[in-house]
Amino acid sequence: MPEDSLLDEELVQEFLSEAQERVEALDQLFLDLEASPNDLAIINSIFRSVHTIKGNSGFFGFANLGGLTHTGETLLNALRESRVQADPLIIDLLLELGDAIRTMVETVGTHHHDGHDSYGDLRARLEAALPSALSPNHGPEAEEPAFADEDTAPTRSEEDELDAVFAGAEQDEEAALDALFAPDEEDEEAALDALFAPDEEDEEAALDALFAAGDHHEERALDALFAAGDHHEERALDALFAAGGQVAAPSARSVPEAPAPPPQVPPASPRPAAPPRSQAPAPPPQVPPASPRPAAPPRSQAPAPPPQASPAAPRPAASPSAQASAPPQAQRPAPPPQPRAPLAPPSQVEEDADDPSAARGRGGPRSSANDTIRVRVQLISDLMNQVGELVLARNQCLQHMGSHDLEGLERALANLDHVTTMLQENMMKTRLQSVSQVFSKFPRIVRDLSRTSQKEVRLVTQGENTEVDKTLIEAITGPLTHIIRNAIDHGLESPARREAAGKLRTGTILIEASHQSQHVVISVSDDGAGIDPERVKAKAIEKGVIDPAEAARLSPRQAINLIFAPGFSTAEQITSISGRGVGMDVVRSEIERVNGVVEIESKVGAGTRIELRIPLTLAIIPALNVRVGGHTFAIPQVNMVEVVQFPKEQEATAVQQLGSAKLLYFRDEWIPIVHMHAFLKTGTDSCDSEYRTIAVVRSGPQQVGLVVDTVVDSQEIVVKPLLSAIQRIGCYAGTAILGDGRVVLILDIAGLMRLSRIETSQSAAEEVLVRATDAQQLLLCEHGGQRVVFPLALVARIEEVGLDEITHVGGREAVIFGQRILNLVRLDKHLPIPPVADPERVHVLVFEFGGHEVGIVVDRVLESIHHDAPITQDPAHGPGILGALILHKRGTLLLDVFHLIEADMPSWFTMVNESRPSVKQGSVRVLLAEDSEFFRKLETSYLESAGYEITAGPDGAAALELFKRGRFDIVVTDIEMPNMDGFELTRQIRQLEGGATIPILALTSLTSDSAKQAALAAGVNGYLVKLNREEILHAVAHQLGRE
C-alpha cells in the first residue's frame, strides 16, 4: 500500500497505541517465558500479541512488519506445540524480534510506513531456529510474506481469522477465538452461555463474567478479538453477535459510525448496567459505556437530556434554563472512549508510547503517539461532570450579577471555587501515570546486562503503582536506567567474587518507589561491592576532577559524591554497558532539572543505594510568595522549612557575622543566611519594617536562611517554563502568574545555594580581613564536655570538618583547604580537658594574625552570646585560661587564644613576633585603662605576651591616679568607661607633667568616624579596634619605637 494512501490518521494512532502497548508487554512476557519455559499461557499471550500486530499491519499494508511478525508467529507456534524449547537462545531471538517490531512500529509512528529494513537476517535466524521438519513447510511462506499482496482482498492470514470466527476451526491461531468458540474451561463456557442466551437479562454481568473468568489473558484475548479482524471486524462481530440473537458493538470505535443501534451493552462497565436515570424525563435509549455514576444528582433546572447522550457524558446537561435551548453537551461531542480503557487497571493512566527503550535517549525522535495520553473513562466522566458544574456555577454568577444579589453571588463564587479545585485536582490526575511504565523496561535491561556482563542479577521492584506526573515519568526514565546500568556494571560483583566474599552468587537489585509527603522517592539499591571512597578519590584526581589536596580533605561521603562530578566515571574500563557518554553528572542534572534531589549511600562490601527524590508534579505547586526589593518571588513549599521573624534590634543576637559567613542560630544549628536584596542586586534593603524576616529553606540536607522584606502569601501556582537565557542564571526554577495577574519568578533553591556559595568563596579572602567589631560577643563552644568561650571578634571563620579530613603535615595536625594548610591546635593538649568526644565531625575556629591562620579544634560551636557575666579569676586556672564565667548556669572557661597558639607553636609565634619593630622589652611599662574585666585580662595577656610590664586600672579616674603615681612609657585606654572616659583621661594626662608627649593609644569597639575624630582631638596617638592582638602590639611597638 503506497505511503500516501488514505491512512486514516485516527486509525493509525490506534494501531500505534495498541502495537506499542503490546510491544511493551512483550519484553516482560519473553522474560517470563525464560523463567518458566513451559508455561503455555505465556506462550499463548506472546503469540496473540504478535499475531495481532501481524493482523493489524496487514490491514495497513505494512509488509515488512507483517512479514517479520509472520515469521515470528511461526516460531511461536512451534513453541506452543513444544516442537521448540524456549532456551536462552530462543529468548534472545524473541527479544530481538520484539526490538525489531518496536523499531518498525516507531517508524510507523514517525513516517507512516514501516521502514525499509525487512530484517531479512533476523527472519532467517528465526526460521533457522525452527525444527528442520517444520522449516520447509513454512519457508516459502516466509520468503513470500503474507502481505506482499497489497490489494484489498483479505490476506491469507486474515482469511484464516475469518475462517476461525465463523467456523471455529481447529487450526485457528487466535486464542481469543479459541476461548470463545471452543471453551475448554467451564466458567468461560458459562459466561458464553450467558452471553448468548437471549433470556439472560443481565448481558453485562455475562460479559463481566467472561472477563473475570480467566486471568488477564482473557482480557488480551478479547482485545485480540476486537483487533484481529481489522476492517472485517464489524462484519465478524455482527455475525458473531447476531448468532446469539443480540446485536452489540462492544468496540467503541464503531459507536460513532453506527448510531442508534438497539440498546447497547456497555462493554465491561465496572458495575451492573446503569438503570435509567430517574430524574431524566426521557431515559436515553443508549446507556453510556462505563457510566461512573448511574444517577446524577437531580437538578431542578435540568432540561431534558439530549436523546443521544454522548458516550462519555453520563450526566444530563447540567445547564440552567438560560441555556436550555442548546444543551451544551450536545454541542460538544465527547471523545469516544478508547476500546480498552475500561479494562485498564483502576486509576492507571498510560501514555500510549513512552520511550520503549530509555537507552535511546530522551532527545531521540519521538513517535507521534507520544503526544497522546490514555485516561480512564471514569476520570473523563468526572471531568465532564465538573465542567458541567463549572458552566452552571458561571451561569449562577451571571444570574446573581444581573439581579445584584450579592449574597447569591457569594454562594455562587464559593461553589465556583469548589468546582475549580475539584476540576484542577482531576485534571492533574489525568497527568498521573504509574511508575510501572518505567519499571517495566528494567527486567529486559537487567537481563541483557546480566548476560553481557556475565553476572547473575535478580531484579526486585516494589511500589510500581506509585503515580507520578507524566512529565516526570519522562524525566526519570533516563536517569533510572543509567543508575541500574551502573549498579550492574560497577556495583554487583561477578558470581565468583560474590561467592568468595561469602555472598549469594546472584546479586539483587531492588527498585522501590513510594510517596513521601509531596515527593516520590525512587531508590535503586544493590548488594554489590559498594563504592570505595579512596578509589573514587584516586579516579577523580586522575580525571582531573579534583586535585590531590582537595581529595585529602574530603570525607568519605563527599568522596562518594564525586561520582556526580562532571566527567567522572568509576568504570575501570569503559564497557559497552555504561560507556554511553552519560555519567552520573547527567543523572543529577536531569533530576535537579525537575526539582529533584539525588542522594547516594554506599558501604564498601555491602552495596550502594541511590535515592531519587522528585516532586509529585511540576505543573502546579504550592509556593510561598515573598517580596524582595519591590519584586515578588515564589519559594516552592517543598523547599520551605520555616519563616523566622524578629525585631530588627535583636538582629545582633540572632545573626552573627563570622568571617565571610553570616549565620543564623536556628533550631540548635548555625545556618548560613543570604540577603536576597544583595544576592539579587535589587538595590538597597528597602524593607522599612521593624522586623527582620528570614525564610529558612532547604535543599537536601542543607538549610539556608533567606532574608526577605516580607512574606506576601501562600498560593498554588502553575509553573511555566523559562527561556533558557533566564534559566541559565541558575537561581530561577520557572515562572508563574499570580492571582492578580503579576508574573513572579520561582526561586530555584538548590541553584541559589550554589550561586551564593560561589560568591562567598570568591570574596572569602577579603572578608577574612573584615572583623566583627562588636567586642562584647563571645562564641560558646563545647569541647570534651567542657564549655569554653572565645572572643567572637577574634574568630575569622568557622569550618566544619570530618575527623578523617584532618591530616598530618610536618608532624602537625592540619586541614587542607585548597592551596592552604591550616594548622590545628588541640585544646586538650594544653588544657585540662578531655579529648574530642564526638569522633565524626568537629568545628575548627579559624584565627588569623600576622597574615597566618591557625585553627582551634572544638567538638562543636553552640552559639554566640552577649557576655555580661562577671569573669572570675582563679590562679588555679593554668596558662591559656583567662578566667571563668557562668553561662547558662554552667561554668565556662574563657580561653586565651594567643597563649594557646603560642604554646602549641612557639617557633612560629616567635617568627611572627620578630616581624614587629623591636623594642627593649622588660623595661617598658604600660598603663592600661579598661573597665571591662574581660578585656582588661585579655589586653593584659596580649601585652604581657610581648614582654611589657602592665599596670591596669578599672576606669579613667583610677588610671589617672596610677599615672600620677607611677612612671609609664605608654598608655593604652578604653574609650567607654565609667567615672572618666578615655577622652577625658587623655585630656587630663596631656595636661600633667610628662604627659604631653607620652604615647596614648585608644582601644575601642566604637568604630564610628566621629568617635575616632573625638579621640584624636582629645590627643590620642592611635586609635585601634579592640581584640586585634597583632594590631595592638604593632601599634604599641610602633609608638615606642618612634620615641
Binding site: H631, L723, S724, V743
Partner: protein
Amino acid sequence: MARADLIRFVTFSLDEVTYGVEVRHLQEVLTGHDISPVPLADPAIMGLMNLRGQVVTALDLRKVLHHQARTQLTEESLHVVVEHSEGLLSILVDAYGNYVERPAAFFKPPPSLMSPSLSSHLSGVCELEDRRIVMMLDVESFLSPSSDELEP
C-alpha cells in the same frame, strides 16, 4: 505561485532605523504592559509580562543590538510580540510601521561591512518600494548563548 515568492513582514522603527519581522514569527502588537523584572538576567531582558495567561519575555532590542540609547518603560510602550522557539518574546519598539509584502528577490543577506553585533541578529535586509532598507530581524538569534558572548 506568485504569492509563494512574496515575503510578508511588518515593520517598526527603533532609533530611526526600520526593522522588519516576518509575519510568520509575529503574534501580535500591543501597548503598555506590566513587566516584572528578572534580577541578575542579561541586561537585554527587561522582564516578564503576562499576556492572557502566557508568560512573555520582554526584550530590550536596543541592548540586543547595542544601541546607545536607553529604553524607558511607560504606559505607552509599544510591544511587538514574536514567537521564539522557546516561547513568546516581546520587542519594545518606538513606532509601528506597516504590513509589507515584497518579492523574495528584494531580500539580501546582511552587508558584510555591517558590524557583527547587528548582522548576527539579522536574517537579511530588504529594500522597500521607496528604496528604504529594512533590517529583517532573526528572532531565533535573540537570547541564544552565542549571541550572549557578543555582549560586552
